[in-house]
Symmetry: C2
Subunit: 138 residues, 2 copies
């Protein structure tokens, strides 16, 4: 059973009414209900953090629209929206460095997605394991 | 010594010239150079992921402008920009659930910040350890 989702703050851009009344139990009612209750930004996107499920490494942050999240949930392969290319992007489709999805969570505001994945090879196309590897500034 | 930062993709909104010539070594030249070379969004913000430094838990995602990052680096207390309140927000200033900053990294695109922190108490004001705790959708 999917747990109830307490929310940190009122969601932006919600329309009061039927949906609002169900705001505390959105995830028990199926995938489309989940998607309908996420708070996408003005571009229709939410940030998605990919974390290696067993080591805890934060691999990267990319962006998803509802369809990218829908595809990710359906295929269990992390699929993002490329803001620079303006197209869906199955992570690793070209490089082979795929992200098999282990689990997906949303945050208390419904405006961030956290993917637990099993990353094949480096997550960053520069060849580093994560997009943060060796990029410490403090 | 701070490492060089290979970048995944060309940064958006850069002006060619002096800055561009130093794009592969921005972090060896000090904090203001780092800040000047980050890719903030149209609102002047970057997403900042807070991760518990020892357990690897992804605690939350919030937003920083240059000044919030400057304050975070200077004080070693995670400081964000609250989009809903329109003000700087020292995490835990009211609740006591502070985030002592252990390290800070930026990603290959320079448009995401990853904080390794030591979180006092729950990160989420709903009382859960992380803002994702118990909010799995798959």
């Amino acid at each position: 059973m999917v747990p109830r989702i307490p929310r940190c703050t009122p969601r932006r851009g919600r329309v009061a009414g039927r949906g609002a009344q169900r705001s505390q139990s959105v995830l028990v009612e199926g995938r489309e209900e989940v998607l309908a209750n996420l708070s996408f930004n003005a571009d229709g996107l939410v940030p998605a953090i990919a974390q290696q499920h067993d080591t805890g490494e934060v691999l990267m942050l990319a962006w998803m629209d509802a369809e990218a999240l829908r595809r990710t949930l359906a295929t269990k392969q992390a699929t993002y929206w490329s803001r620079s290319r303006g197209e869906y992007w199955v992570k690793g489709e070209t490089s082979g460095h795929r992200q098999a999805v282990v689990s997906v969570a949303v945050d208390c505001d419904g405006d961030t997605v956290l993917l637990q994945v099993d990353q094949t090879g480096p997550a960053c196309h520069t060849g580093t394991r994560t997009c943060f590897s060796g990029r410490e500034i403090a």
